[in-house]
């Protein structure tokens, strides 16, 4: 556990947490490369639709707007959770975490609906290079959100059981970084896949 420093936020108070937060930033560097590669592949394959549909033919604005709205809001609420954590309110931290995850769940629900719709209208995974990369890119992001939901629930459970201490605070903070990152990736998806595709 090492020394505890009381002059910094709880999540930075131990040596171990400092390492973990730094390591997580490095991990996010790798994640940037992962999504960067997916985007690069998307731009390469976007017009290679074979006999399948193009983006303009299948994208619908309503579900995408809902997704964008709930995900952006959840990024805000996880920020509030960290704020609550800094002022030491266990109850508020848990509440905002729960709201964040609920919003994440709504996002996921809409995305699943969207995927079903794509398959239904003949834009399934194996139709063309375009649909393959589209669903893979969206799916990778969606999978990250799913992992986030599981991970977040475990953290909520721990804060609830054990309260806010350097361990739970560290985990919550790292989780918030992850969640913000997913939001940033979504902004790219929204702008360069949907908006550009619909134009």
């Amino acid at each position: 556990m090492g020394k505890v420093n009381n002059n910094v936020p709880l999540e930075y108070s131990t040596e171990e947490n400092n390492l973990k937060i730094f390591g997580f930033w490095v991990f996010l560097g790798a994640e940037i490369m992962l999504f960067g590669t997916l985007f690069a592949s998307y731009f390469t394959l976007v017009d290679r639709t074979g006999a399948g549909p193009t983006g303009a033919e299948i994208f619908e604005i309503t579900p995408v707007l809902i997704e964008t709205f709930v995900l952006l809001t959840s990024s805000f609420t996880i920020g509030l959770a960290i704020h609550a954590m800094r002022i030491g309110s266990k109850k508020a931290t848990i509440s905002f975490m729960v709201i964040t995850l609920l919003l994440g769940a709504v996002f996921l629900g809409v995305e699943i609906y969207e995927f079903k719709h794509y398959v239904h209208i003949g834009a399934g995974l194996s139709v063309s290079a375009f649909t393959s990369i589209l669903l893979t890119t969206l799916g990778t992001h969606g999978l990250h959100v799913t992992m986030g939901l599981c991970w977040g629930s475990f953290i909520i459970f721990q804060i609830w059981k054990r309260g806010l201490n350097s361990v739970t605070a560290g985990k919550t903070f790292v989780f918030s970084l992850y969640w913000h990152f997913l939001d940033v990736v979504w902004i790219f998806i929204f702008s360069f896949i949907y908006l550009k595709g619909m134009m």
Binding site: M1, L19, V26, L45, G50, A51, G52, L125, A129, I155
Partner: protein, 654 residues
């Protein structure tokens, strides 16, 4: 039922494969029997499988690398044997394809990678004066993931069939249409799992080096090997996710009929080539930079002076690492991109020769001003410099895109990359192995056998690979399983085969040396038998599991802290011994890796229920880990003191 088992059968069985199968089965039985007979299971589990000690994890990487060196080596000899005479029928075409594929993959990913990772693990914490890596348990997980990936790849040989489309696995050749066995599934999934482990290693070591250096060790006081490790790990973190994505897409193409790399429905086979080499070229530097790091340590130690041009050495590595991401297209100059693109990549490729040249000159100047002592590690370094330079020069020849149309995909290329990778990576690894052997095991390897090995290896190397330059320029294609006598290649190929045989002898000499020295070498060596320079030599041998009783302070020292303490009397260990905090061992990372193996195997054969079982197992392990509270334990000051006293009798640092 019959169908179920039929899928595991080898599609192209031959006598050789049956012999291999039998030897694998009997070997495993023998191993299990020995371990059971000597009641070693508990020991293995407690001391090795679950260990979080970076030194032990390092040694597990080392063992894996050495075993794979022999697996890949047998493949190599089979390839050369097949080509030794024209119209040979020793291997038929399909079998040859499988052997060159597994040879390439095994050598690069399962031999060279764990070898450098062994050095990261063993050396980096010692060189920076740390007690362990930043995330000891992640380190254990990284090893086991890597190991499971390796295991999965290797069983392809006896269950279901090996991959056969080259270590580059180009599509459409690697697609279902042309690679009909499950071999390429193995390739995609085994590399994915091992790659995950490698990525974890990358994150772990960047954090370790950035955050855990001893007091006073600024970035520009880090030992050269640690620098090379930092840069290699940065490249890992930026390059491996690209491979992750490419492999995932390849897997989906094969299992779920997606159209990423197909030639129909808009798929684009060249996308694979691009993604593969965006990872693949930096991968080469992931291997060579740590090799440079090892040579720097060896050369400064045995030239008995500090490294010439330390700062330029560091900067040249940084420049190389950036450039390495900008040259990938030189691997397919001939595959239909325009002259403009080719020119750009030609120039960037040649530009890498400049910082590399800087390093060569720095080593030469170090030697020039030094008092050279020709030990075995130094002899490897002395053979490395000219041989590697030759490989570098032929690399620049390959970088000329117009000329590459002549020798693309010929033996010239094979000669080139073996010419950089064997004297570069393999020699460095063996030099480092010899150099650090006493630090690991407490006795020296025999110098006479060691030096003889280097000479035998170099003679074998020259005979094996220089002829390939000539046949390559004459048009002998790579990956062709045979040729006709009329080509006139037969004499040089026979020379090559003899060379490969001589190299085999040198590898056997290494094993013999280990055995001989284990029996005969004296054990009362000090902890610094080479009179070396870095902090890694400032602990006892064998190294206590907490590394340093007192964290070294290098504020007053240079980048060669231990040397300064010996020559200028700088104090490294100030203050008194305190309680030391250590992490607990963990078996759960191993269990999780086993689930990865199960899931991976299930994916290879599209056995979905089993795959789901494996994935649930992985998630369960993650959940368990998340809820677990593990604070490690403390070694109390008086225990450390006692330990230190025991060690002190054996000599070593103050």
């Amino acid at each position: 039922m019959k169908e179920f088992f039929a899928q595991f059968a080898i599609p192209h069985p031959s006598l050789l494969i049956y012999i291999a199968m039998a030897s694998i089965v009997f070997g495993t039985i023998a191993l299990v029997a020995v371990v059971t007979y000597f009641k070693l299971w508990g020991y293995l589990w407690r001391e090795w499988i679950t260990t979080v000690d970076h030194k032990k994890i390092g040694i597990m990487y080392l063992i894996t690398a050495l075993v794979m060196l022999f697996r890949g080596g047998v493949d190599a000899v089979m390839l050369r044997m097949q080509l030794a005479v024209p119209e040979n029928t020793f291997l038929e075409a399909q079998h040859y394809n499988e052997v060159f594929t597994t040879h390439g993959v095994v050598m690069i990913l399962f031999m060279a990678m764990p070898f450098i990772t062994f050095f990261f693990n063993f050396l980096v914490p010692l060189q920076i004066g740390a007690r362990d890596v930043a995330f000891p348990r992640l380190n254990n997980l990284a090893f086991w993931l890597f190991f499971m990936g390796m295991g999965l790849f290797n069983i392809s040989f006896v269950i279901g069939g090996s991959p056969d489309s080259g270590w580059t696995s180009y599509f459409p050749l690697a697609g279902n249409e042309f690679s009909t066995s499950v071999g390429t599934n193995y390739y995609m999934i085994a590399l994915q799992i091992a790659g995950l482990g490698t990525l974890m290693t990358g994150i772990n070591f960047i954090t370790t080096i950035m955050k855990m250096r001893a007091p006073g060790m600024t970035l520009f006081k880090m030992p050269m090997f640690t620098w090379s490790a930092l840069i290699a790990n940065l490249i890992i973190v930026f390059a491996f996710p690209v491979l992750t994505v490419a492999l995932a897409m390849g897997t989906m193409d094969r299992l779920f009929a997606t159209n990423f790399f197909t030639t129909v429905n808009g798929g684009m086979d060249m996308l694979w080539a691009n993604l593969f080499w965006v990872w693949g070229h930096p991968e080469v530097y992931i291997l060579i930079l740590p090799a440079f790091g090892i040579f720097s340590e060896v050369i400064s130690t045995f030239a008995r002076r500090n490294l010439y041009g330390y700062t330029s050495m560091v900067w040249s590595m940084i420049v190389i690492s950036v450039f390495s991401f900008a040259v990938w297209t030189h691997h397919f100059f001939t595959m239909g991109q325009g002259a403009f693109t080719n020119s750009i990549f030609s120039i960037t490729t040649m530009a890498i020769a400049i910082p590399t040249g800087v390093k060569i000159f720095n080593w030469l100047f170090t030697l020039y001003k030094g008092k050279i002592e020709m030990t075995t590690p130094m002899l490897y370094a002395m053979h490395f410099i000219p041989l590697f330079t030759l490989g570098g020069v032929t690399g620049v020849m390959l970088a000329m895109s117009a000329a590459d149309y002549q020798y693309h995909n010929t033996m010239f290329l094979v000669a080139h990359f073996h010419n950089v990778i064997i004297p570069g990576v393999v020699y460095a690894m063996l030099a480092g192995l010899t150099f650090y052997w006493p630090k690991m095991f407490g006795f020296m390897l025999n110098e006479k056998i060691g030096k003889a090995t280097v000479w035998v290896m170099s003679i074998g190397f020259v005979l094996a690979f220089i002829p390939m330059y000539i046949t390559g320029l004459d048009g002998q294609a790579r990956r062709m399983y045979t040729y006709s006598d009329a080509t006139g290649f037969s004499f040089l190929n026979m020379v090559s085969f003899v060379g490969a045989g001589i190299m085999t002898v040198s590898f056997i000499m290494i094993v013999w040396n280990i055995w001989y020295s284990f029996k005969n070498s004296p054990r009362d060596i000090s902890s610094d038998p080479w009179n070396a320079r870095g902090l890694e030599w400032a602990t006892h041998t064998p190294i206590p599991h907490y590394n340093f009783a007192i964290t070294p302070d290098v504020t007053d020292a240079s980048e060669e802290a231990f040397w300064d303490s010996k020559k200028k009397g700088t104090q490294l260990f100030k203050g008194k011994i305190e309680d030391i905090h250590m992490p607990n061992n963990s078996g759960q990372t191993f269990v999780m890796s086993v689930f990865f193996f199960i899931a991976g195997f299930a994916f290879v054969f599209s056995m979905w229920y089993l795959a789901i079982f494996g994935l649930i197992g992985i998630l369960a392990c993650m959940a368990y880990r998340s809820l677990e509270d593990d604070h490690g334990y403390h070694i109390h000051a008086h225990e450390v003191e006692e330990d230190e006293k025991k060690h002190a009798q054996k000599g070593g640092a103050k």
